[in-house]
Symmetry: C2
Subunit: 325 residues, 2 copies
Protein backbone atom coordinates (compact mmCIF):
# COMPACT_ATOMS: atom_id res chain seq x y z
CA UNK A 1 0.00 0.00 0.00
CA UNK A 2 1.60 3.23 -1.20
CA UNK A 3 0.76 6.74 -0.09
CA UNK A 4 -0.75 9.24 -2.51
CA UNK A 5 2.17 10.53 -4.63
CA UNK A 6 1.29 14.18 -3.95
CA UNK A 7 1.80 13.55 -0.20
CA UNK A 8 5.20 11.86 -0.47
CA UNK A 9 7.39 14.99 -0.27
CA UNK A 10 5.81 15.85 3.09
CA UNK A 11 6.08 12.31 4.44
CA UNK A 12 9.70 11.78 3.39
CA UNK A 13 11.28 14.98 4.67
CA UNK A 14 11.70 13.76 8.25
CA UNK A 15 9.24 16.28 9.72
CA UNK A 16 6.90 15.11 12.46
CA UNK A 17 3.34 14.35 11.32
CA UNK A 18 0.16 14.32 13.40
CA UNK A 19 -2.28 11.57 12.42
CA UNK A 20 -5.97 11.95 13.23
CA UNK A 21 -7.02 8.68 14.91
CA UNK A 22 -10.74 7.99 15.34
CA UNK A 23 -10.24 4.28 15.90
CA UNK A 24 -12.13 3.49 12.66
CA UNK A 25 -10.61 1.35 9.95
CA UNK A 26 -9.25 4.16 7.80
CA UNK A 27 -7.39 6.06 10.49
CA UNK A 28 -6.09 2.84 12.05
CA UNK A 29 -4.65 1.83 8.67
CA UNK A 30 -3.17 5.31 8.17
CA UNK A 31 -1.42 5.31 11.56
CA UNK A 32 -0.01 1.81 11.02
CA UNK A 33 1.23 2.63 7.53
CA UNK A 34 2.91 5.87 8.64
CA UNK A 35 4.51 4.04 11.57
CA UNK A 36 5.73 1.14 9.41
CA UNK A 37 7.56 3.30 6.90
CA UNK A 38 9.26 5.23 9.70
CA UNK A 39 7.46 8.59 9.48
CA UNK A 40 7.90 10.33 12.89
CA UNK A 41 4.25 10.34 13.87
CA UNK A 42 2.03 11.43 16.79
CA UNK A 43 -1.64 10.57 17.07
CA UNK A 44 -4.60 12.64 18.20
CA UNK A 45 -8.01 11.22 19.06
CA UNK A 46 -10.87 13.71 19.15
CA UNK A 47 -13.83 12.75 21.36
CA UNK A 48 -16.85 14.68 20.01
CA UNK A 49 -19.06 14.42 23.11
CA UNK A 50 -21.64 12.39 21.14
CA UNK A 51 -22.33 8.67 20.57
CA UNK A 52 -22.08 7.87 24.33
CA UNK A 53 -20.42 4.61 25.31
CA UNK A 54 -19.38 3.81 21.75
CA UNK A 55 -17.28 6.98 21.65
CA UNK A 56 -15.63 6.05 24.96
CA UNK A 57 -14.81 2.63 23.51
CA UNK A 58 -13.23 4.26 20.41
CA UNK A 59 -11.13 6.57 22.63
CA UNK A 60 -9.87 3.64 24.71
CA UNK A 61 -9.12 1.60 21.58
CA UNK A 62 -7.19 4.49 20.01
CA UNK A 63 -5.16 5.09 23.18
CA UNK A 64 -4.26 1.41 23.49
CA UNK A 65 -3.32 1.10 19.82
CA UNK A 66 -0.98 4.09 20.04
CA UNK A 67 0.60 2.80 23.29
CA UNK A 68 1.15 -0.63 21.71
CA UNK A 69 3.04 1.05 18.84
CA UNK A 70 4.98 3.37 21.12
CA UNK A 71 3.36 6.42 19.49
CA UNK A 72 2.51 9.52 21.58
CA UNK A 73 -1.27 10.01 21.55
CA UNK A 74 -3.28 13.02 22.71
CA UNK A 75 -6.96 12.87 23.46
CA UNK A 76 -9.03 16.03 22.99
CA UNK A 77 -12.66 16.39 24.03
CA UNK A 78 -14.96 18.76 22.19
CA UNK A 79 -18.68 19.33 22.70
CA UNK A 80 -20.04 19.06 19.15
CA UNK A 81 -23.72 19.73 20.05
CA UNK A 82 -22.74 22.92 21.91
CA UNK A 83 -20.51 24.01 19.01
CA UNK A 84 -23.36 23.36 16.55
CA UNK A 85 -25.57 25.71 18.55
CA UNK A 86 -22.85 28.31 18.96
CA UNK A 87 -21.80 28.27 15.28
CA UNK A 88 -25.36 27.79 13.97
CA UNK A 89 -24.48 24.80 11.78
CA UNK A 90 -25.39 21.12 11.54
CA UNK A 91 -23.99 18.71 14.13
CA UNK A 92 -21.94 17.04 11.41
CA UNK A 93 -20.42 20.31 10.17
CA UNK A 94 -19.72 21.55 13.71
CA UNK A 95 -18.08 18.23 14.63
CA UNK A 96 -15.81 18.52 11.60
CA UNK A 97 -14.86 22.12 12.25
CA UNK A 98 -14.27 21.47 15.95
CA UNK A 99 -12.20 18.39 15.14
CA UNK A 100 -10.04 20.30 12.68
CA UNK A 101 -9.42 23.06 15.21
CA UNK A 102 -8.46 20.47 17.84
CA UNK A 103 -6.08 18.72 15.42
CA UNK A 104 -4.50 22.03 14.44
CA UNK A 105 -3.85 22.99 18.06
CA UNK A 106 -2.51 19.55 18.87
CA UNK A 107 -0.19 19.56 15.83
CA UNK A 108 1.22 22.96 16.77
CA UNK A 109 1.81 21.99 20.40
CA UNK A 110 3.53 18.74 19.34
CA UNK A 111 5.76 20.54 16.82
CA UNK A 112 4.22 18.73 13.84
CA UNK A 113 4.50 20.29 10.39
CA UNK A 114 1.69 18.24 8.83
CA UNK A 115 -1.65 16.67 9.78
CA UNK A 116 -2.55 13.40 8.06
CA UNK A 117 -6.21 12.43 7.64
CA UNK A 118 -7.50 9.07 6.45
CA UNK A 119 -9.94 10.02 3.68
CA UNK A 120 -9.97 7.49 0.86
CA UNK A 121 -11.31 7.19 -2.68
CA UNK A 122 -14.86 6.34 -1.61
CA UNK A 123 -14.95 9.42 0.66
CA UNK A 124 -13.68 11.37 -2.33
CA UNK A 125 -16.50 10.09 -4.59
CA UNK A 126 -19.09 10.95 -1.90
CA UNK A 127 -17.67 14.45 -1.55
CA UNK A 128 -17.65 15.01 -5.31
CA UNK A 129 -21.28 13.91 -5.68
CA UNK A 130 -22.34 15.85 -2.61
CA UNK A 131 -20.74 19.10 -3.78
CA UNK A 132 -22.00 18.63 -7.33
CA UNK A 133 -25.56 18.13 -6.09
CA UNK A 134 -25.24 21.22 -3.91
CA UNK A 135 -24.37 23.40 -6.87
CA UNK A 136 -20.60 23.26 -7.36
CA UNK A 137 -19.75 24.39 -10.88
CA UNK A 138 -17.95 21.10 -11.52
CA UNK A 139 -16.87 17.92 -9.78
CA UNK A 140 -14.79 19.20 -6.90
CA UNK A 141 -12.91 16.76 -4.74
CA UNK A 142 -10.87 16.78 -1.56
CA UNK A 143 -7.27 17.74 -2.33
CA UNK A 144 -4.53 15.29 -1.28
CA UNK A 145 -2.40 18.22 -0.07
CA UNK A 146 -3.74 21.50 1.28
CA UNK A 147 -1.75 24.25 2.95
CA UNK A 148 -3.51 25.54 6.04
CA UNK A 149 -2.95 28.20 8.67
CA UNK A 150 0.22 28.52 10.79
CA UNK A 151 2.28 26.79 8.08
CA UNK A 152 0.53 23.46 8.67
CA UNK A 153 0.02 21.14 5.70
CA UNK A 154 -3.04 18.87 5.65
CA UNK A 155 -2.40 15.55 3.92
CA UNK A 156 -4.69 12.75 2.72
CA UNK A 157 -2.20 9.98 1.99
CA UNK A 158 -4.91 7.32 1.37
CA UNK A 159 -7.03 9.37 -1.03
CA UNK A 160 -6.26 7.11 -4.02
CA UNK A 161 -7.17 3.85 -2.18
CA UNK A 162 -10.62 2.28 -2.01
CA UNK A 163 -12.32 1.39 1.27
CA UNK A 164 -12.04 -2.25 0.20
CA UNK A 165 -8.28 -2.04 -0.35
CA UNK A 166 -7.86 -0.55 3.13
CA UNK A 167 -10.13 -3.15 4.74
CA UNK A 168 -8.42 -6.02 2.93
CA UNK A 169 -5.01 -4.80 4.08
CA UNK A 170 -6.07 -4.52 7.73
CA UNK A 171 -7.53 -8.03 7.57
CA UNK A 172 -4.38 -9.37 5.93
CA UNK A 173 -2.27 -8.21 8.89
CA UNK A 174 -4.89 -9.21 11.48
CA UNK A 175 -5.42 -5.65 12.75
CA UNK A 176 -8.76 -4.79 14.36
CA UNK A 177 -10.66 -1.50 14.32
CA UNK A 178 -13.84 0.06 15.74
CA UNK A 179 -17.00 0.32 13.66
CA UNK A 180 -19.10 3.49 13.98
CA UNK A 181 -22.69 2.26 14.21
CA UNK A 182 -24.05 5.66 13.00
CA UNK A 183 -22.26 5.20 9.64
CA UNK A 184 -24.98 2.76 8.68
CA UNK A 185 -27.96 4.92 9.64
CA UNK A 186 -29.85 6.53 6.73
CA UNK A 187 -29.96 9.74 8.78
CA UNK A 188 -27.77 12.15 6.96
CA UNK A 189 -26.87 13.11 3.41
CA UNK A 190 -23.47 11.42 3.51
CA UNK A 191 -24.85 8.08 4.57
CA UNK A 192 -27.57 8.07 1.89
CA UNK A 193 -24.93 8.94 -0.71
CA UNK A 194 -22.65 6.17 0.55
CA UNK A 195 -25.24 3.46 1.02
CA UNK A 196 -27.74 4.18 -1.78
CA UNK A 197 -26.64 6.64 -4.45
CA UNK A 198 -23.09 5.39 -5.08
CA UNK A 199 -24.08 1.68 -5.15
CA UNK A 200 -26.88 2.57 -7.63
CA UNK A 201 -24.35 4.34 -9.85
CA UNK A 202 -22.02 1.31 -9.62
CA UNK A 203 -24.92 -0.95 -10.67
CA UNK A 204 -25.96 1.36 -13.53
CA UNK A 205 -22.45 1.54 -14.97
CA UNK A 206 -21.52 -2.05 -14.17
CA UNK A 207 -18.36 -1.07 -12.26
CA UNK A 208 -17.06 1.08 -9.40
CA UNK A 209 -17.57 4.72 -10.30
CA UNK A 210 -15.46 6.11 -7.41
CA UNK A 211 -12.13 6.11 -9.29
CA UNK A 212 -13.84 7.60 -12.37
CA UNK A 213 -15.41 10.39 -10.32
CA UNK A 214 -12.07 11.05 -8.65
CA UNK A 215 -10.39 11.36 -12.06
CA UNK A 216 -13.19 13.66 -13.30
CA UNK A 217 -12.65 15.90 -10.31
CA UNK A 218 -8.91 15.99 -10.89
CA UNK A 219 -9.35 16.92 -14.57
CA UNK A 220 -11.99 19.55 -13.76
CA UNK A 221 -9.64 21.01 -11.15
CA UNK A 222 -6.88 21.18 -13.77
CA UNK A 223 -9.23 22.95 -16.20
CA UNK A 224 -10.14 25.53 -13.55
CA UNK A 225 -6.46 26.02 -12.66
CA UNK A 226 -5.50 26.34 -16.34
CA UNK A 227 -8.21 28.99 -16.85
CA UNK A 228 -6.90 31.02 -13.90
CA UNK A 229 -3.34 30.68 -15.21
CA UNK A 230 -4.44 31.72 -18.72
CA UNK A 231 -6.23 34.78 -17.32
CA UNK A 232 -3.07 35.72 -15.41
CA UNK A 233 -1.01 35.26 -18.62
CA UNK A 234 -3.35 37.59 -20.52
CA UNK A 235 -2.16 40.54 -18.37
CA UNK A 236 -5.53 42.13 -17.72
CA UNK A 237 -4.63 44.10 -14.59
CA UNK A 238 -2.96 47.52 -14.71
CA UNK A 239 -0.09 48.55 -12.38
CA UNK A 240 -2.62 50.10 -9.96
CA UNK A 241 -4.43 46.75 -9.60
CA UNK A 242 -7.44 47.77 -11.70
CA UNK A 243 -8.92 45.66 -14.50
CA UNK A 244 -8.09 47.08 -17.94
CA UNK A 245 -11.38 46.93 -19.85
CA UNK A 246 -10.56 47.38 -23.57
CA UNK A 247 -8.96 43.92 -23.59
CA UNK A 248 -11.94 42.39 -21.75
CA UNK A 249 -14.48 44.03 -24.06
CA UNK A 250 -12.78 42.41 -27.07
CA UNK A 251 -13.18 38.92 -25.54
CA UNK A 252 -15.99 36.48 -26.45
CA UNK A 253 -18.77 36.14 -23.86
CA UNK A 254 -17.61 33.13 -21.81
CA UNK A 255 -14.11 34.58 -21.44
CA UNK A 256 -15.52 37.98 -20.39
CA UNK A 257 -17.51 36.29 -17.62
CA UNK A 258 -14.52 34.19 -16.55
CA UNK A 259 -12.22 37.25 -16.43
CA UNK A 260 -14.65 39.22 -14.24
CA UNK A 261 -15.21 36.25 -11.91
CA UNK A 262 -11.44 35.75 -11.63
CA UNK A 263 -10.84 39.43 -10.83
CA UNK A 264 -13.46 39.41 -8.05
CA UNK A 265 -11.87 36.27 -6.56
CA UNK A 266 -8.38 37.84 -6.77
CA UNK A 267 -9.73 40.88 -4.90
CA UNK A 268 -11.21 38.54 -2.27
CA UNK A 269 -14.75 39.85 -2.78
CA UNK A 270 -16.76 37.57 -0.49
CA UNK A 271 -19.45 35.24 -1.88
CA UNK A 272 -18.98 35.89 -5.60
CA UNK A 273 -22.03 34.63 -7.51
CA UNK A 274 -23.03 34.32 -11.14
CA UNK A 275 -25.46 37.20 -10.53
CA UNK A 276 -22.59 39.39 -9.32
CA UNK A 277 -20.67 38.67 -12.51
CA UNK A 278 -23.76 39.51 -14.58
CA UNK A 279 -24.05 42.83 -12.74
CA UNK A 280 -20.42 43.58 -13.66
CA UNK A 281 -21.11 42.73 -17.31
CA UNK A 282 -23.69 45.50 -17.18
CA UNK A 283 -21.21 48.21 -16.18
CA UNK A 284 -18.09 47.41 -18.23
CA UNK A 285 -19.42 48.83 -21.50
CA UNK A 286 -18.39 52.48 -22.04
CA UNK A 287 -21.97 53.78 -22.21
CA UNK A 288 -23.54 51.72 -19.40
CA UNK A 289 -23.89 52.77 -15.75
CA UNK A 290 -20.51 53.30 -14.10
CA UNK A 291 -21.08 51.42 -10.82
CA UNK A 292 -22.95 48.52 -9.27
CA UNK A 293 -23.34 46.94 -5.84
CA UNK A 294 -22.07 43.42 -5.18
CA UNK A 295 -22.69 41.23 -2.14
CA UNK A 296 -20.87 42.00 1.10
CA UNK A 297 -21.43 45.78 0.65
CA UNK A 298 -18.77 45.82 -2.07
CA UNK A 299 -19.13 48.37 -4.88
CA UNK A 300 -17.67 47.92 -8.37
CA UNK A 301 -16.76 51.09 -10.27
CA UNK A 302 -15.70 51.88 -13.83
CA UNK A 303 -13.74 55.00 -14.83
CA UNK A 304 -11.23 55.75 -17.58
CA UNK A 305 -11.66 52.28 -19.10
CA UNK A 306 -10.72 50.61 -15.80
CA UNK A 307 -12.79 48.61 -13.31
CA UNK A 308 -12.11 48.19 -9.60
CA UNK A 309 -13.90 47.23 -6.38
CA UNK A 310 -14.25 49.04 -3.05
CA UNK A 311 -15.52 47.96 0.34
CA UNK A 312 -18.27 49.74 2.32
CA UNK A 313 -15.72 52.25 3.65
CA UNK A 314 -14.63 53.18 0.09
CA UNK A 315 -11.35 51.28 0.57
CA UNK A 316 -9.89 49.79 -2.63
CA UNK A 317 -9.85 45.96 -2.67
CA UNK A 318 -6.62 45.16 -4.49
CA UNK A 319 -6.01 41.85 -6.23
CA UNK A 320 -3.77 39.37 -4.41
CA UNK A 321 -1.23 37.23 -6.18
CA UNK A 322 -1.83 33.72 -7.51
CA UNK A 323 -4.99 31.71 -7.46
CA UNK A 324 -7.64 32.51 -4.88
CA UNK A 325 -10.70 30.43 -4.09
CA UNK B 1 -44.96 26.55 -20.41
CA UNK B 2 -42.18 28.44 -22.20
CA UNK B 3 -39.57 27.00 -24.52
CA UNK B 4 -35.90 27.03 -23.58
CA UNK B 5 -34.65 30.57 -24.26
CA UNK B 6 -31.73 29.34 -26.38
CA UNK B 7 -34.22 27.70 -28.79
CA UNK B 8 -36.45 30.72 -29.28
CA UNK B 9 -34.62 32.32 -32.23
CA UNK B 10 -35.09 29.09 -34.23
CA UNK B 11 -38.72 28.69 -33.26
CA UNK B 12 -39.70 32.30 -33.97
CA UNK B 13 -38.15 32.79 -37.40
CA UNK B 14 -41.02 31.18 -39.33
CA UNK B 15 -38.92 28.22 -40.57
CA UNK B 16 -40.53 24.80 -40.64
CA UNK B 17 -39.58 22.52 -37.73
CA UNK B 18 -39.69 18.72 -37.62
CA UNK B 19 -40.79 17.36 -34.23
CA UNK B 20 -39.79 13.83 -33.24
CA UNK B 21 -42.98 12.13 -32.01
CA UNK B 22 -42.67 8.83 -30.13
CA UNK B 23 -46.15 9.06 -28.63
CA UNK B 24 -44.69 9.32 -25.12
CA UNK B 25 -45.56 12.15 -22.80
CA UNK B 26 -42.59 14.39 -23.59
CA UNK B 27 -42.88 14.36 -27.37
CA UNK B 28 -46.69 14.70 -27.21
CA UNK B 29 -46.28 17.81 -25.06
CA UNK B 30 -43.61 19.20 -27.39
CA UNK B 31 -45.76 18.76 -30.51
CA UNK B 32 -48.79 20.35 -28.84
CA UNK B 33 -46.78 23.30 -27.56
CA UNK B 34 -45.16 23.95 -30.94
CA UNK B 35 -48.56 23.72 -32.63
CA UNK B 36 -50.24 26.03 -30.12
CA UNK B 37 -47.77 28.88 -30.54
CA UNK B 38 -48.04 28.66 -34.32
CA UNK B 39 -44.65 27.17 -35.22
CA UNK B 40 -44.98 25.57 -38.71
CA UNK B 41 -44.40 22.00 -37.63
CA UNK B 42 -44.26 18.50 -39.16
CA UNK B 43 -44.04 15.31 -37.10
CA UNK B 44 -42.01 12.16 -37.61
CA UNK B 45 -42.61 8.90 -35.79
CA UNK B 46 -39.76 6.39 -35.87
CA UNK B 47 -40.76 2.73 -35.39
CA UNK B 48 -37.64 0.92 -34.14
CA UNK B 49 -38.72 -2.62 -35.01
CA UNK B 50 -38.68 -3.61 -31.34
CA UNK B 51 -41.24 -3.73 -28.50
CA UNK B 52 -43.80 -5.59 -30.71
CA UNK B 53 -47.46 -4.63 -30.36
CA UNK B 54 -46.71 -1.78 -27.97
CA UNK B 55 -44.66 -0.08 -30.71
CA UNK B 56 -47.52 -0.52 -33.19
CA UNK B 57 -49.88 1.09 -30.68
CA UNK B 58 -47.48 4.06 -30.26
CA UNK B 59 -47.27 4.49 -34.05
CA UNK B 60 -51.07 4.48 -34.40
CA UNK B 61 -51.45 6.93 -31.50
CA UNK B 62 -48.86 9.30 -32.99
CA UNK B 63 -50.50 9.21 -36.42
CA UNK B 64 -53.94 9.91 -34.99
CA UNK B 65 -52.69 12.75 -32.79
CA UNK B 66 -51.01 14.46 -35.76
CA UNK B 67 -54.11 14.01 -37.95
CA UNK B 68 -56.35 15.47 -35.23
CA UNK B 69 -54.11 18.56 -35.13
CA UNK B 70 -53.86 18.81 -38.92
CA UNK B 71 -50.08 18.27 -38.77
CA UNK B 72 -48.30 16.29 -41.53
CA UNK B 73 -46.78 13.16 -40.00
CA UNK B 74 -44.27 10.73 -41.51
CA UNK B 75 -43.68 7.25 -40.17
CA UNK B 76 -40.24 5.70 -40.66
CA UNK B 77 -39.40 2.09 -39.82
CA UNK B 78 -35.87 1.13 -38.83
CA UNK B 79 -34.58 -2.27 -37.71
CA UNK B 80 -32.69 -1.41 -34.52
CA UNK B 81 -31.51 -5.00 -33.74
CA UNK B 82 -30.07 -5.33 -37.25
CA UNK B 83 -28.40 -1.90 -36.98
CA UNK B 84 -26.91 -2.88 -33.60
CA UNK B 85 -25.31 -5.91 -35.24
CA UNK B 86 -24.16 -3.95 -38.26
CA UNK B 87 -22.70 -1.04 -36.28
CA UNK B 88 -21.43 -3.24 -33.42
CA UNK B 89 -23.08 -1.19 -30.68
CA UNK B 90 -25.72 -1.67 -27.99
CA UNK B 91 -29.37 -1.86 -29.04
CA UNK B 92 -30.00 1.42 -27.22
CA UNK B 93 -27.16 3.25 -28.99
CA UNK B 94 -28.07 1.80 -32.40
CA UNK B 95 -31.74 2.77 -31.93
CA UNK B 96 -30.69 6.34 -31.12
CA UNK B 97 -28.32 6.63 -34.06
CA UNK B 98 -30.81 5.07 -36.48
CA UNK B 99 -33.57 7.36 -35.18
CA UNK B 100 -31.43 10.47 -35.62
CA UNK B 101 -30.54 9.45 -39.20
CA UNK B 102 -34.24 8.89 -39.96
CA UNK B 103 -35.21 12.26 -38.48
CA UNK B 104 -32.46 14.01 -40.43
CA UNK B 105 -33.61 12.48 -43.73
CA UNK B 106 -37.22 13.27 -42.97
CA UNK B 107 -36.43 16.88 -42.06
CA UNK B 108 -34.49 17.43 -45.28
CA UNK B 109 -37.22 15.90 -47.46
CA UNK B 110 -39.88 18.04 -45.72
CA UNK B 111 -37.83 21.22 -46.11
CA UNK B 112 -37.45 21.68 -42.34
CA UNK B 113 -34.57 23.80 -41.02
CA UNK B 114 -34.68 22.39 -37.48
CA UNK B 115 -35.48 19.15 -35.64
CA UNK B 116 -37.07 19.49 -32.20
CA UNK B 117 -36.59 16.72 -29.62
CA UNK B 118 -38.41 16.43 -26.30
CA UNK B 119 -35.56 15.90 -23.81
CA UNK B 120 -36.27 17.55 -20.45
CA UNK B 121 -34.41 18.45 -17.27
CA UNK B 122 -34.60 14.92 -15.80
CA UNK B 123 -33.12 13.48 -19.02
CA UNK B 124 -30.44 16.14 -18.72
CA UNK B 125 -29.58 15.11 -15.14
CA UNK B 126 -29.39 11.44 -16.18
CA UNK B 127 -27.09 12.28 -19.08
CA UNK B 128 -24.83 14.39 -16.88
CA UNK B 129 -24.49 11.65 -14.27
CA UNK B 130 -24.06 8.98 -16.92
CA UNK B 131 -21.27 10.85 -18.73
CA UNK B 132 -19.57 11.83 -15.47
CA UNK B 133 -19.54 8.20 -14.31
CA UNK B 134 -18.13 7.12 -17.67
CA UNK B 135 -15.14 9.42 -17.33
CA UNK B 136 -16.14 12.83 -18.72
CA UNK B 137 -13.75 15.46 -17.39
CA UNK B 138 -16.68 17.44 -15.99
CA UNK B 139 -20.46 17.46 -15.88
CA UNK B 140 -21.43 17.52 -19.54
CA UNK B 141 -25.04 17.95 -20.50
CA UNK B 142 -27.17 17.85 -23.63
CA UNK B 143 -27.06 21.22 -25.39
CA UNK B 144 -30.40 22.99 -26.03
CA UNK B 145 -29.19 23.96 -29.52
CA UNK B 146 -26.74 22.00 -31.63
CA UNK B 147 -25.87 22.62 -35.27
CA UNK B 148 -25.78 19.38 -37.25
CA UNK B 149 -25.03 18.28 -40.79
CA UNK B 150 -26.72 19.73 -43.89
CA UNK B 151 -27.43 23.01 -42.09
CA UNK B 152 -29.95 21.34 -39.76
CA UNK B 153 -30.28 22.66 -36.21
CA UNK B 154 -31.24 20.23 -33.43
CA UNK B 155 -33.33 21.84 -30.70
CA UNK B 156 -34.38 20.69 -27.21
CA UNK B 157 -37.05 23.27 -26.35
CA UNK B 158 -38.15 21.47 -23.14
CA UNK B 159 -34.68 20.98 -21.67
CA UNK B 160 -35.33 23.36 -18.76
CA UNK B 161 -38.62 21.71 -17.71
CA UNK B 162 -39.01 18.81 -15.28
CA UNK B 163 -40.81 15.58 -16.17
CA UNK B 164 -43.39 16.55 -13.53
CA UNK B 165 -44.06 19.96 -15.08
CA UNK B 166 -44.63 18.31 -18.46
CA UNK B 167 -46.91 15.62 -16.98
CA UNK B 168 -48.89 18.17 -14.97
CA UNK B 169 -49.42 20.31 -18.06
CA UNK B 170 -50.68 17.37 -20.17
CA UNK B 171 -53.07 16.37 -17.37
CA UNK B 172 -54.29 19.95 -17.03
CA UNK B 173 -55.37 20.01 -20.69
CA UNK B 174 -56.71 16.43 -20.63
CA UNK B 175 -54.23 15.16 -23.22
CA UNK B 176 -53.32 11.46 -23.20
CA UNK B 177 -50.04 9.79 -24.12
CA UNK B 178 -48.50 6.31 -24.45
CA UNK B 179 -46.36 4.83 -21.68
CA UNK B 180 -43.28 2.82 -22.67
CA UNK B 181 -43.35 -0.26 -20.43
CA UNK B 182 -39.57 -0.81 -20.89
CA UNK B 183 -38.84 2.55 -19.22
CA UNK B 184 -39.53 0.92 -15.89
CA UNK B 185 -37.34 -2.15 -16.34
CA UNK B 186 -34.05 -2.15 -14.40
CA UNK B 187 -32.36 -3.50 -17.53
CA UNK B 188 -30.11 -0.75 -18.67
CA UNK B 189 -27.87 1.94 -17.26
CA UNK B 190 -30.30 4.77 -18.00
CA UNK B 191 -33.19 3.14 -16.15
CA UNK B 192 -31.10 2.40 -13.06
CA UNK B 193 -29.90 6.01 -13.05
CA UNK B 194 -33.47 7.29 -13.44
CA UNK B 195 -35.17 4.96 -10.98
CA UNK B 196 -32.50 4.45 -8.31
CA UNK B 197 -29.49 6.77 -8.44
CA UNK B 198 -31.28 10.10 -9.00
CA UNK B 199 -34.00 9.45 -6.40
CA UNK B 200 -31.27 8.48 -3.88
CA UNK B 201 -29.48 11.77 -4.59
CA UNK B 202 -32.78 13.66 -4.16
CA UNK B 203 -33.29 11.94 -0.79
CA UNK B 204 -29.71 12.61 0.32
CA UNK B 205 -29.89 16.31 -0.50
CA UNK B 206 -33.51 16.74 0.55
CA UNK B 207 -34.55 18.28 -2.79
CA UNK B 208 -34.54 17.66 -6.56
CA UNK B 209 -30.95 17.64 -7.75
CA UNK B 210 -31.81 17.70 -11.49
CA UNK B 211 -31.87 21.51 -11.84
CA UNK B 212 -28.67 21.76 -9.78
CA UNK B 213 -26.88 19.21 -11.97
CA UNK B 214 -28.10 21.03 -15.07
CA UNK B 215 -26.70 24.31 -13.75
CA UNK B 216 -23.39 22.62 -12.86
CA UNK B 217 -23.12 21.31 -16.40
CA UNK B 218 -23.85 24.74 -17.84
CA UNK B 219 -21.20 26.41 -15.66
CA UNK B 220 -18.63 23.69 -16.41
CA UNK B 221 -19.35 24.13 -20.13
CA UNK B 222 -18.77 27.87 -19.75
CA UNK B 223 -15.45 27.24 -17.97
CA UNK B 224 -14.30 24.92 -20.78
CA UNK B 225 -15.40 27.46 -23.41
CA UNK B 226 -13.66 30.30 -21.54
CA UNK B 227 -10.44 28.28 -21.38
CA UNK B 228 -10.54 27.64 -25.15
CA UNK B 229 -11.24 31.34 -25.77
CA UNK B 230 -8.39 32.34 -23.44
CA UNK B 231 -5.99 30.00 -25.25
CA UNK B 232 -7.04 31.52 -28.57
CA UNK B 233 -6.50 35.03 -27.13
CA UNK B 234 -2.96 34.10 -26.02
CA UNK B 235 -1.90 33.80 -29.71
CA UNK B 236 0.11 30.61 -29.42
CA UNK B 237 -0.04 29.55 -33.08
CA UNK B 238 2.37 30.90 -35.71
CA UNK B 239 1.27 31.96 -39.23
CA UNK B 240 2.12 28.46 -40.53
CA UNK B 241 -0.28 26.85 -38.04
CA UNK B 242 2.43 25.49 -35.74
CA UNK B 243 2.47 25.90 -31.97
CA UNK B 244 5.04 28.48 -30.82
CA UNK B 245 6.80 26.81 -27.87
CA UNK B 246 8.70 29.56 -26.00
CA UNK B 247 5.37 30.99 -24.81
CA UNK B 248 4.10 27.54 -23.77
CA UNK B 249 7.30 26.68 -21.91
CA UNK B 250 6.91 29.81 -19.79
CA UNK B 251 3.41 28.72 -18.67
CA UNK B 252 2.64 26.97 -15.36
CA UNK B 253 1.94 23.24 -15.59
CA UNK B 254 -1.88 23.13 -15.86
CA UNK B 255 -1.87 25.80 -18.59
CA UNK B 256 0.84 23.93 -20.53
CA UNK B 257 -1.28 20.78 -20.51
CA UNK B 258 -4.42 22.72 -21.48
CA UNK B 259 -2.62 24.47 -24.37
CA UNK B 260 -1.31 21.19 -25.80
CA UNK B 261 -4.72 19.50 -25.45
CA UNK B 262 -6.37 22.47 -27.15
CA UNK B 263 -3.88 22.43 -30.05
CA UNK B 264 -4.45 18.70 -30.68
CA UNK B 265 -8.22 19.27 -30.70
CA UNK B 266 -7.86 22.25 -33.08
CA UNK B 267 -5.84 20.01 -35.41
CA UNK B 268 -8.58 17.36 -35.19
CA UNK B 269 -6.23 14.69 -33.88
CA UNK B 270 -8.62 11.81 -33.20
CA UNK B 271 -9.09 10.41 -29.67
CA UNK B 272 -6.93 12.87 -27.73
CA UNK B 273 -6.18 11.44 -24.27
CA UNK B 274 -4.40 12.65 -21.15
CA UNK B 275 -1.59 10.20 -22.01
CA UNK B 276 -1.20 11.84 -25.43
CA UNK B 277 -0.84 15.24 -23.77
CA UNK B 278 1.76 13.81 -21.38
CA UNK B 279 3.70 12.45 -24.34
CA UNK B 280 3.71 15.95 -25.87
CA UNK B 281 4.94 17.45 -22.58
CA UNK B 282 7.95 15.16 -22.99
CA UNK B 283 8.97 16.59 -26.37
CA UNK B 284 8.38 20.33 -26.02
CA UNK B 285 11.50 21.02 -23.98
CA UNK B 286 14.49 22.07 -26.16
CA UNK B 287 16.69 19.19 -25.06
CA UNK B 288 14.11 16.35 -25.04
CA UNK B 289 13.35 14.00 -27.95
CA UNK B 290 12.01 15.86 -31.00
CA UNK B 291 9.05 13.61 -31.91
CA UNK B 292 6.46 11.29 -30.41
CA UNK B 293 3.63 9.08 -31.67
CA UNK B 294 0.03 9.87 -30.76
CA UNK B 295 -3.04 7.71 -31.29
CA UNK B 296 -4.49 7.38 -34.79
CA UNK B 297 -0.99 7.07 -36.35
CA UNK B 298 -0.44 10.80 -35.77
CA UNK B 299 3.13 11.98 -35.12
CA UNK B 300 3.99 15.15 -33.20
CA UNK B 301 7.26 16.89 -34.13
CA UNK B 302 9.29 19.74 -32.66
CA UNK B 303 11.78 21.82 -34.66
CA UNK B 304 12.98 25.42 -34.41
CA UNK B 305 10.94 26.02 -31.26
CA UNK B 306 7.71 25.01 -33.01
CA UNK B 307 5.49 21.95 -32.59
CA UNK B 308 3.16 20.45 -35.19
CA UNK B 309 1.36 17.19 -35.96
CA UNK B 310 1.37 15.00 -39.08
CA UNK B 311 -0.76 12.08 -40.16
CA UNK B 312 0.57 8.65 -41.21
CA UNK B 313 1.28 9.99 -44.72
CA UNK B 314 3.42 12.83 -43.35
CA UNK B 315 0.66 15.33 -44.17
CA UNK B 316 0.52 18.37 -41.84
CA UNK B 317 -2.65 18.54 -39.70
CA UNK B 318 -3.40 22.24 -39.56
CA UNK B 319 -5.49 23.82 -36.82
CA UNK B 320 -9.06 24.72 -37.73
CA UNK B 321 -10.76 27.85 -36.50
CA UNK B 322 -12.83 28.19 -33.33
CA UNK B 323 -13.57 25.59 -30.75
CA UNK B 324 -13.34 21.91 -31.71
CA UNK B 325 -14.54 18.98 -29.65
Amino acid sequence: MDFHPACLPWLKNGDRVLAGLSGGRDSVALLLLLHRVGVPVCACHVHHGIRGGEADRDARFSRELAVSLGIPCDEVRIDAPALAGQWKMSLEAAARRGRHAALEECALSRGCKAVALAHHQDDQAETILFRLCRGAAGPKGIRPVREGRHGLVWLRPLLHLSRKEITDWLRSIGQEWCDDSTNGAPCCARNILRREALPALDRALGRRVAPILARSARLAGETAAALDEALAALELIDPQGRLYLPKILAFPHALQKAALHWYLRLCRVPGVTEEGVRALLGIIAPRGPARCMLCGAVTARRRERRLWVEDAAGQLLLPGRGREK
